[in-house]
């Protein structure tokens, strides 16, 4: 390929940076928290905003797909180059809750620049990364008549709650499967300006357990010592979920979990990853977890069980001397190949039900988000993407896994047999799902350049 169209697109991107920042600010300002029923209108507003943006840029067939919960958007754009391959770009406009709001240094729904970073809910997960794709396409439309690949765009608004409507959407739109590759930017690079191509995601299954010990909270003086305490029982149940070696103590939890491959473990050990620096970045005194594995291995190639939240009894200011009647814990399990999320969820539920003492009633259930998913490390798109990232960032690009979960990737694989290129443009310590979510300003600027190079690379040789 000639350098000319690339340089023109880069120039266009640089000239339009302020407009791009304004658009990100507008999308982040819409509080599209998909897990909160009170935010349903905001989620729809974000979807409509993206649909309008796709139309403005020049996408065709922009369609808002209605679901029982939050709508999604599909669109397509033909390449000016005949016979170009077709790429499906998947992203999402819904975000995680912003609580605890008091821990945000700037308002969560206002994009704020500090220390060469953009802060705000969704700047990296995934509004910011989705908009990088739209910018790369707009730049190529403005400077070269369009991208050298045909594009299909699928924008989800239920990603943060497990994409429950996506299977029906895929079944209703089989044309989405008529593509050569899926590209998703919804994961971190290896660090700031340390580009990386991802080839694997963990699966995810949620569980929730509630202990009911009494009809209502009781006075701890009149009853304390003689009746079951829901908080104490739940604490025992939660403490029993791991053994002293940091392994999950649920019977059968590790069944079907693929053993680590020595070549891959050696590759991971060679990555320029310093655990102490990583821990310092998140304010942790030391790492913990399953004995016998490194930090990267624990988050990438091993399944885990985490307590996401726990609540019981009096949690307000001051003392309240009660025996709590009820206690609830939320759990999530990240899975690796070849674990079946339903089977793992049921084993966790069975373990909890079987561990509860006679003195209490217990309810436990699980909900499946996704299986783990991988793309072969030698997939042809991997080398193309690594080259595009390396050129845009001027640094070596690595091959990595991601510990997170994007249900759409597994669904697109099972529905249409599609492989996905994980072209994450975030950072490992970006506070995704937490207060003060951020994206490096460098990634905001260089990400669309990498995508311009990616479209050129794929257009030149994927088919």
């Amino acid at each position: 390929m000639s350098d000319q169209p690339v340089r023109a697109a880069f120039d266009w991107l640089q000239a339009h940076e302020q407009q791009d920042r304004d658009r990100l600010a507008k999308l982040v300002a819409i509080p599209s928290v998909s897990s909160d029923p009170a935010s349903a209108e905001a989620v729809r507003e974000a979807v409509e905003w993206v649909a309008a943006e796709l139309r403005r840029i020049g996408f065709a067939d922009v369609t808002v797909y209605e679901t029982p919960l939050h709508p999604a958007v599909t669109a397509r754009l033909a390449s000016p180059i005949a016979g170009a391959p077709t790429v499906l770009v998947y992203g999402h406009v819904d975000v995680q809750p912003v609580e605890p709001v008091a821990e945000w240094a700037s308002p969560p729904f206002t994009v704020t620049e500090r220390d060469a970073k953009l802060f705000g809910r969704g700047v990296t997960d995934d509004k910011g990364q989705l908009l990088m794709h739209l910018r790369s396409v707009e730049a190529l439309l403005a400077t070269a008549g369009g991208p050298p690949v045909n594009l299909v765009v699928l924008v989800d608004a239920e990603e943060e709650i497990g994409s429950p409507s996506l299977p029906a959407l895929l079944a209703d739109n089989p044309w989405l499967g008529e593509v050569d590759l899926v590209v998703v930017s919804d994961s971190p690079m290896l660090g700031i300006n340390m580009p990386a191509v991802g080839y694997s995601l963990r699966g995810l299954v949620y569980a929730e357990v509630t202990v009911s010990a009494l009809a209502g909270d009781l006075h701890s003086g009149q009853f304390g010592g003689a009746v079951p305490n829901a908080a104490a029982v739940l604490a025992e149940l939660v403490a029993g979920l791991h053994d002293a070696d940091g392994r999950v103590a649920v019977e059968g939890f590790y069944d079907d979990a693929a053993a680590a491959d020595d070549a891959e473990r050696a590759m991971l050990a060679d990555l320029p990853f310093d655990e102490r620096t990583w821990l310092d970045g998140i304010g942790a005194r030391c790492g913990t977890g399953e004995a016998g594995y490194s930090a990267l291995e624990r988050t990438w190639i091993r399944p885990t069980l985490e307590v996401n939240g726990i609540v019981s009894g009096h949690t307000g200011p001051g003392p309240k001397t009660i025996v709590p009647a009820r206690a609830t814990a939320k759990l999530s399990m990240r899975l690796i190949a070849d674990q079946d999320p339903h089977r793992v969820g049921q084993r966790v539920v069975d373990h909890l039900m079987g561990s509860a003492p006679e003195s209490v009633d217990i309810t436990a259930d699980y909900a499946v988000s996704s299986r783990a998913v991988s793309t072969p490390r030698d997939h042809p798109s991997t080398a193309v993407a690594a080259e595009a990232l390396a050129a845009a960032f001027g640094r070596t690009a690595y091959l990595i896994r991601d510990g997170g979960t994007i249900p759409a990737v597994a669904l697109l694989q099972s529905a249409f047999g599609l492989d996905t290129l994980l072209l994450g443009l975030g950072c490992p310590d970006e506070n995704k799902h937490a207060p003060n979510e951020w994206l490096p300003l460098d990634h905001f600027r260089l990400g669309p350049r990498a995508l311009v190079l990616l479209w050129h690379g794929l257009g030149g040789g994927l088919r």
Copy 2:
């Protein structure tokens, strides 16, 4: 004594029942939650309301005593009978928080009658019981020129937070110690229409522990499995507070705890208490607790440690896949003679600090409410009170302990050497400190009669 003044006072009480219910409704309507800084004005309003009520009835020297937190009230009333003994009546107008409000079947600050019970925050603890005393005095003033004992009234508004200002109040008002006996109605009888005289209260010390594992909540996919989880660490700490026999596993917790006395254990075993009925009343499947003790023994003659509340991470609706950064548990320990609350509090704190893994920071502290306190079982007032209760309720009156704590009782004993008669007029399953607090309508009606008889009994022979 002649029956005449008693009968006249009973008739007066019956004729004024509606006025008395209106007054209870007014006092309960004031949301005087002493632990909530936002309710400070309401607490003062309740104090002023009681002061005005004491003046209306005819008490002298009604004084609102200012403290660094919530004010208290003192007042006195001379008996028309020369040389009559003097009794100090202690009660409180502050109440516990009402959360979770959704679990109240009727509004917490509105007295509501259902099933021959009055419901509302404070109807039994302690607004309702305090007003019974005032009604008994008003009846005797209206029908007999006054009670046959001199009365001193001390109304606290910090009882539910451990009466922190009471030591200074007692030091500033040494005349409060110039009495022959303290009478407190702030505890349960043995059941509905099962009157009882109490002779012992447990002590109380609070503790709070917070685990800090991370600078902020983290994404459970990017970090789960490799970093400390505050909720999981706290669950282990809480689970480690008891052993498999239900004993508190804190080293030295039982030091100085007086061994149970065989005669008393035999007496307790003879009480008409049916654990199954008691458990059914509170919706518990079975009793639990320290091995080797009955339910009454566990709540009355043994020290305990209860989790009052626990909170960490995501507790709202829907999933949020985070590794929580912080987790907090609130604990309270009920003590028996001769445990020192400071020593027990420090041992619990030391245990928690010593049990935490290297991976987290932990803060723990304790706050003392009160030592345990007892009145000799053969105190002369006991038999007088039992006779008064038996006559008013037409039932046998029992001798019981109470598992709760009233800091004033210990403070009046240590400051002035005063013994206290625990003339509780509530019920064991009254939902004290919990949603749907209630008082039997029979107790509301018959309690003041028992007090009229008590004043007559004490006036006839205490000195």
